[in-house]
């Protein structure tokens, strides 16, 4: 499927997404998800599911709360609360949550200020901040930063 057709098909879950504010970067791969991709891991599917089936960093509470996700990324050095502005000296991760404050998605800021996202088991895209806001992921709840490496 062409990206323009995919964007059209994604209008219900992601009403702000357009061809102008996003670009595809890699094909379907169910091996990892957005939470892993934000942490630059393409080997594991990260989630603190109650059945204990997927990867969750050891030592972090296995619960679907923003705090648990903050702790998980904290182990990768993302320990400072921040905002969406581009700062050359910092790398940033945005954690999305739904209306009940349940984490839904994570994205990683790129050098040009756009954000890298893996859409569930689907494709990876790069997009402007806010392009994924909507019914599927809610909105950004927390932005974390670490010194650039």
């Amino acid at each position: 499927m062409k990206f323009q057709d995919l964007v059209r098909a994604m209008q219900v879950p992601f009403p702000n997404l357009t061809e102008a504010n996003s670009r595809p970067t890699s094909p379907y791969d169910e091996g990892y998800n957005c939470i892993a991709w934000a942490a630059e891991d393409t080997y594991y599917w990260w989630w603190p599911d109650p059945m204990g089936q997927h990867y969750w960093p050891p030592g972090v509470q296995r619960e679907e709360t923003i705090e648990a996700f903050v702790q998980a990324y904290g182990l990768r050095g993302y320990s400072e609360r921040s905002d969406a502005t581009l700062e050359r000296s910092k790398q940033k991760i945005a954690i999305y949550a739904d209306g009940n404050d349940k984490p839904t998605h994570a994205a990683r800021q790129l050098h040009d200020g756009w954000w890298a996202s893996k859409l569930g088991p689907q494709i990876d895209i790069e997009h402007e901040f806010g392009a994924l806001d909507g019914p599927a992921y809610g909105t950004v709840a927390v932005i974390l930063a670490r010194p650039s490496r």
């Binding site: 994604m10 879950p13 992601f14 169910e30 091996g31 990892y32 998800n33 957005c34 939470i35 080997y43 594991y44 599917w45 990260w46 989630w47 599911d49 109650p50 059945m51 204990g52 089936q53 997927h54 990867y55 969750w56 679907e64 349940k102 984490p103 839904t104 998605h105 994570a106 893996k118 859409l119 569930g120 088991p121 689907q122 599927a136 992921y137």
Partner: protein
Amino acid sequence: MTTSSPAPRAPTIRDTPTLVLSANLLLAVTAMGASAQSVQLQRQLDDLTDYYALPASNRRDHRRDRFRSLAQQWRAETQWLSSTTAIAMNPAYQAIIGMGAEALPLILEDLRQNSGHWYWALKAISNEDPVVPRDRGSVKKMKSAWLRWGETKGLVRA
């Protein structure tokens, strides 16, 4: 000219007096202004009655068709999600879990052909988990472990 009489019909659940009585009773209650729960029970009984009225070979097709339809719905509704919990709590996925052990060979065949996060359902139905702790989250290894498990149990061909 000779005419052959129709072959005797195999007994079905419709022939079971207790169930027919229960169905009639529910119909009567519904007509009097039944609760939503009673109406739901009636629908389930109707489905069950229709299902067992089918020959056994058609029942297998019925199960397969129902599974395919639910799996398609599940994939369409969860394709953008990363939350394992949200993926597994999808109503179509839960309906597949509700099919019980008869869904296991269908799930394993689908897993082999199409992949997908079937691991929650497999664990919930079988009450087993062949994935070793160090492989949790490694989707390729989880898939291999479950397919090996299915082959060992004779649920999916090797």
